[in-house]
Amino acid sequence: MTATLAGINDFVIKLFFGQKADSLVGSGLGGSDAVFLFIWWVSVFFFVLLMGIMGYCMVKYRRREGVPAEPSPSHNTPLEIAWSVIPSLLLAVMFFWGFNGYMRAQMAPSYAEQIDLVGQKWAWSMTYSTGIGASEFTTLGGNNNVPIFVVPAETPVRLRMNSSDVIHAFWVPDFRTKLDVMPNRYTPYVFTANALDRSGADERVMTATDKNDNEFAYRDHIVYCAEYCGDSHSEMVAVLRVVEPSYYQTWLNTPPYDAVTPPAEVGALVWQAKCAVCHTVDGGVGTGPTWKDAWGYPREFTNADSLTQETLDARPDEWDNYIRESIILPGAKVKAGFANAMPSFDGQLSDVEMRGVIAYMRSLSDRDPGTPIPGYEELEAEAAELEAAANGGE
């Protein structure tokens, strides 16, 4: 009997949620799945009871010609008290149970791993205790640059969340909790991810190898923005990658770039993490102008003097200045044909990252002085052939 009930409960949870809650706060008796099941059974009981009585009356008391309705009482005090008091008691249980779970979802121990999270139209970014951020990206739905945030399993984690523009909300459906991300204060998102089940029973646990040839197991959870925030609200997603605590420490101390990483590669990482939602690098349309073949070309602005060929010839740094200014003060020069929609990234990029973005944009343009001229490779090959022929002729 108990086993059957547990089986039915598991089925209900699977039907509604896909799988059981993964965070410790969401699982177990104090978790939200248990309250949900309680509410579910109360609801099923009352719904079946009410609809049963309604169906019975529809058949039994349907109007028959010439047969008047039997007289029946117009009220019944004990019955009315019963159906007010019993539901009230059930609701009281729901309230206390739910409040208990809610408080657990708000509290984190003082030793919890703290990670900073920033929500911005329309991307999430995290800064870990070692100063690094997401270094890997994936595709989810229609977004090709979804950041992967690595977090440790079995460790309390506390995200200190803040928005740099409008209100967002951080939601991990597998953890059964969400919280608003506010522009004017920090809010905490607390979770403790369950251990990785490497026995093969959990099909979501996978293994991969990182760039240093370390093999690690992981389990991915989707993150959504749940508070409406505009055009690309539905693309504001991320992946939370739960790894073993030991691997987390390794990862935490493996910076995505170091002193010898070429600036353009740093810039490409920054682009994926912060810019890719609006700016394409392949010439495609986006909320903002594409970065493909942008650097070094003259540009018209809606609210400032245009960047002409003469200016660029006279002052070669002018494009670099324009990029820097647009990151800090996006509204200063708005490209013709685009709205003033970009939020400021002032203070969010280090000097290395700022130089990286500029280097990356230069590398995307055929006007970059470092870019080989068109046909250069063929010419070089031809020269090599001629040289070889000349050498062979000796």
Binding site: S32, G66, S72, H75, N144, Y228, G230, D231, S234, E235
Partner: protein
Amino acid sequence: MTTVDRNLDQLGDHGHHDEGSYLNPKYGPIATVWDWMTTVDHKKIGVMYLFAVLFMFFLGGVAALALRIELLEPTRIDETGNLTGAALAFFAEGETVSQAAAGQAYNRVMTMHGAIMVFMFIIPAIPASLGNFFLPLMLGAKDVAFPRLNLASWYVYVFGSLFGVFSILMGGVDTGWTFYTPYSTTTTGQPQVIAMVLAAFILGFSSIFTGLNFIVTTHKLRAPGMGWFDMPLFIWAVYSTSIIQVLATPVIGVTLLLLIFERVLQIGIFDPGLGGDPVLFQHFFWFYSHPVVYVMILPAMGIISDVLAIHCRKRIFGYRAIAFSSLAIAAISFLVWGHHMFTSQGELAAMVFSFLTFFVAIPTAVKVFNWIASLYKGSITFTTPMLYVFAFLFLFSIGGLTGLPLGTLSTDLHLHDSYFVVAHFHYVMFGGTVIAFLAGLHHWWPKMFGRMYSEKGGALGCALVFIGFNMTFFTQFFLGTQGMPRRYASYVDEFTLLHQISTYGSLILALGFVVHLVVFLHSLFLGEKAPQNPWGGLTLEWETETPPIEHNFHHEPVLTHGPYDFDEVVPPGWDPKDYPLPEQTPGGHKH
């Protein structure tokens, strides 16, 4: 108790009255139009409101279908770099659109659907159309207390709606109907946002005018002999609604004005960039908008009470409990606004609002229990209005029960702002209010227009609406629990099947409304003439002619029996349809 039917002319002579139906044109075509536009007759204003809100329902419904069609498939960029699955943006801008443009098109249509349905349809729908028409008739009054204010309310409504339509024509608004700050104060497209906010502001006045009018009418213009507990339950519901309208609407007016001040004058109230607090806006907004949820549902509950009693020919069970629960809901509704903000406020506030929210569940549950108990030993018919009552009891029960995990704090953290919420409030607002509106419309249609409608057509429409509605929205409960956030223009692959079922369901739902439209048009032009009291109701609106004469009653009616005294008033073997009741009827006991 007098046994004389005061509705009959005491002289036994109808000849000296030249009053005809309120619908009869008395002048030429232009003068008739002018007569309608300047009328102070609550019935004509009710009919004008009915057509106005139905038109808005049509606009909002088209927007809803557009949203469902956009969500039929997710937006993706294929290998060639082209966008797929962005129906709305393709329709608006041709093939070359970005993903952001697809999102923007969706967001604008979503805002249009929400703003039209909430501010221009569902708030005024029942009180201003059926309420306007039947409140004075059910009270036995000649008109509402302030007929000119009533006409003004209609013009204010039309004026406000024009602002809303104007903002859509200017390019649309993408803030969502809730206008959350700082998004709404910083988004581009200033003039449209201000026009839409002004529309909501102006529509508030129309709501206040109607509410004020109904409160005074109920207090002052009840027929002789009609005590408070002799009023039909529809009146109790509309009365409770009016109290909320008068008390809550000024708050949204002030809030929206502050929003406009912030946008236009850059005074920092809600925008943290200017030193304001965005959560303050949410408090102000829901302090109005939560009570207003009950402005939407209370009149619907009133309709259900009356239609159920008449079509089962049965005294409603627990009259006083239903009447008082309306007032209780109106009072408690002012104390629960914070449950819209469990994820944006502190722990103490969350606890208090969760606790108070469960309080409002009790009177609502009591009403449902009373309705079901009223079926017991009734004489139940299966007319279209009654079919809609059954649909209401089914859908509203689901709507109410799915509110429980939203009021419970720990489960709400998961379900908040997900499709579960979307499904829940559509079960309450559509499965509750719109379904009850349809019940009331079919129930009172013969009285309003003097024609019967086709029962077969009505039942077919009801079946399609019921099936289509459940397909559209039951799927959304699962979308929500599985993690689909609301207000998303696109989604991950896992949700495709549920979204497709939902979209096909919405098409069936739309077909149901087309059937109803055809049935009503057929009734208006070809319908058979309605008798005075087709359902055998005992409330006063059935004592006058069908359609009612211009001044409602030939003589001021005197109440001789309660609204649901079928047992006492109707002698055995007598069908209440055969109005007037025989003179020998024993005086009804009044509860």
